[in-house]
């Protein structure tokens, strides 16, 4: 029963926020309470799933292949917890970071519905249901990105909406073709049916359709162009939330479908994934090198970082999948923290333009440290979390003889370090420019949640053991789909 709670809780809270439409303060308090409760529920769920392996609920008590199953395995539970933590941090930050106008236009109900969509996508065991959850979270994110109605907002939203709708269309086509081939859309049932089909080419074709659809959502090369065009337009609180959740749900969908369903032609599909991974890393980091806007630079790094979990998926061994899952958690925390710091920098100096920023190291050492830790973690310096994630991927890559890709990933790490050094030099280290605006004060609502997130990111780096054990368990389950299938279908013949 508990596995329905991550969906029901945001849904109920979203409805309640709608009822409290005219009372912004109540909505703010409700959001904090709701996200804190979600962290509790999802932590409990993770502990539970860690014992059992896979938890299943058949909605409406319809037996497995006929109804909709909700399935939470270790991977889902781990990501659910990370999502809840990020949502809590961003909501606390948003107490100051979100202006009154946005709250009055329905920011909080949308936040709840976005979380409902993300949690649903992470815990469903049915492909069509996954499509529906994607639409739920997209719809909420569409409005969140367009809220405010400035020129940049609307232009960013147009690009974001059109490309994501295109992805949904492709996804739905893939679902239709798969139903035609296998006669079922339950993922566990599909995992059982697909190997028996005498239609390898068609299945591979559908796999590529899914790869394109989820690739757009995950912002992988060459499908990422909507992301740098839209992510810097909403307030930084919203961008931080999006960077932590949305593309990662796309990566989760790839991890799920390309370990459970599309494993008949690994030599082809997973090689495509590897090429995509390398190209994503390189193009993202090169795009970032050309940027002088704090948020746009970070947006390009989102793309670059997506390449690493894809690399882990493409290598397709237990070690590489474990590293990919660890990396996913690491990058969700570190990236969100970086965006939150960018928001604090903007509060202090009134701009995101790196050329106009400066001198923050002497004025606000605390903010500088909050930037430096996740930035170095993102670049992969020991002993931070990014180092262990990349070490795992590099080891797995060398074990598979993918020397070129390993070289690319290391070179991209170096480029990431260069990029982070650039931000450090421009915003924190150099003399403050003459026309600098007066340094304003910083609310603890901004400072404390960011610091907590950075500490959490530091913790999984300094003590990587527990998280790595979890990631390893999740990877083991991914590589043994028969456990997933048995848990969902049970004794059904």
């Amino acid at each position: 029963m508990t596995i329905v709670l991550p969906i029901l809780l945001p849904m109920g809270m979203g409805a309640l926020s709608l009822l409290l439409w005219k009372r912004p303060l109540a909505q703010r308090v409700l959001a904090v309470v709701s996200c804190a409760a979600l962290v509790g529920v999802n932590a409990w769920l993770l502990m539970d799933v860690q014992q059992v392996g896979v938890r299943v609920v058949q909605i409406g008590n319809w037996l497995a292949p006929f109804g909709i199953s909700l399935v939470v395995d270790v991977l889902s539970a781990l990501l659910l917890l990370t999502v809840a933590v990020i949502a809590l941090v961003v909501t606390l930050y948003g107490q100051v970071g979100i202006d009154e106008g946005r709250v009055r236009s329905g920011y909080y109900p949308l936040l709840h519905f976005l979380l409902m969509g993300v949690n649903g996508a992470l815990s469903t065991g049915d492909l069509f249901n996954l499509y529906v959850w994607f639409e739920v979270l997209l719809m909420a994110s569409f409005v969140l990105i367009a809220l405010g109605g400035g020129r940049e907002n609307i232009e960013g939203a147009v690009k974001y909406v059109v490309l994501n709708l295109l992805a949904s269309t492709l996804f739905l086509s893939g679902v239709g073709l798969l139903y035609n081939l296998a006669g079922t859309l339950n993922m566990a049932d599909l995992a059982r049916q697909l190997p028996t089909l005498q239609a390898l080419n068609q299945v591979t074709l559908v796999a590529i359709l899914f790869l394109i659809a989820f690739g757009i959502k995950a912002a992988a090369f060459p499908l990422f162009f909507w992301l740098p065009a839209s992510y810097h337009t909403p307030p930084v609180t919203v961008t931080a939330l999006f960077s932590g959740l949305l593309t990662k749900v796309g990566v989760y969908a790839l991890l799920r479908t390309f370990t459970l369903l599309f494993v008949q032609d690994v030599a082809f599909t997973h090689t495509v994934l590897l090429v995509m991974a390398g190209a994503t890393m390189v193009s993202g980091v090169l795009g970032a090198a050309a940027q002088t806007d704090f948020r746009r630079l970070l947006s390009f790094h989102i793309i670059s970082q997506i390449g690493y979990p894809l690399m882990g998926l493409g290598l397709f061994t237990q070690a590489s999948l474990a590293a990919a899952i660890y990396f996913l958690v690491h990058v969700m925390l570190a990236k969100t923290a970086l965006f939150l710091v960018a928001g604090m920098v903007e509060r202090l100096q009134g701009t995101f333009d790196l050329k106009k920023l400066g001198g923050l190291y002497t004025r606000r050492l605390d903010v500088a440290v909050l930037f430096l830790l996740p930035a170095l973690s993102l670049a992969g310096l020991p002993p931070l979390s990014g180092f262990f994630a990349k070490l795992g991927l590099v080891k797995a890559g060398l074990a598979q003889g993918q020397g070129v890709l390993v070289f690319v990933s290391l070179a991209v790490s170096l480029m990431t370090l260069y990029s982070m050094t650039k931000v450090w030099n421009e915003a924190f280290w150099k003399e403050s420019p003459a026309q600098l605006m007066p340094t304003r004060s910083l609310s603890p609502w901004l400072w404390l949640p960011t610091a907590a997130l950075v500490l959490l990111s530091l913790w999984i780096g300094l003590l990587p053991g527990p998280l790595f054990a979890l990631a390893n368990q999740a990877a083991e389950l991914l590589l043994h789909p028969e456990l997933y299938v048995r848990a969902v279908l049970g004794g059904v013949p």
Partner: protein, 128 residues
């Protein structure tokens, strides 16, 4: 019938993709609509088409007849139609707002997110 529907879906896909690639917002909207119709037809076609045989169990028997129309595909289409209706409503409003804010429905005028805005480059606008 299956072949006919497949051809119709294919034509709709082609037309939809062509329209999505246009620069005008209105044409992109039409393209998205056509793509939505194409997918609905494809979903409809994904189950074997059986006319005149509802998925009902006749009185006195405990199984449906051997060949019957698959209701699941139609349930999927219904869901997809409802979702695309909601999404389209939003897209219409968004595009209208975009037209009001940018004062143009040409995507080439919407570069603020990638390049410096046209209004920030004095004189650029009047040259066009």
């Amino acid at each position: 019938m299956t072949l006919l529907l497949a051809i119709a879906a294919g034509v709709l896909f082609a037309a939809g993709i062509y329209m999505v690639l246009r620069r005008s917002l209105l044409k992109i909207l039409i393209g998205l609509l056509l793509l939505g119709y194409a997918v609905n037809l494809l979903l409809f076609n994904s189950a074997v088409l059986v006319p005149g045989r509802p998925p009902l169990i006749p009185a006195g028997q405990d199984q449906p007849p051997a060949v019957y129309a698959d209701p699941l595909a139609q349930a999927l289409i219904l869901t997809a139609i409802v979702i695309s209706f909601g999404v389209t409503a939003f897209v219409v409003v968004l595009f209208r707002k975009a037209y009001a804010v940018v004062d143009s429905d040409d995507l080439n005028d919407m570069r603020c997110t990638d390049l410096p805005c046209l209004d920030e480059l004095p004189g650029k606008r009047s040259e066009q």
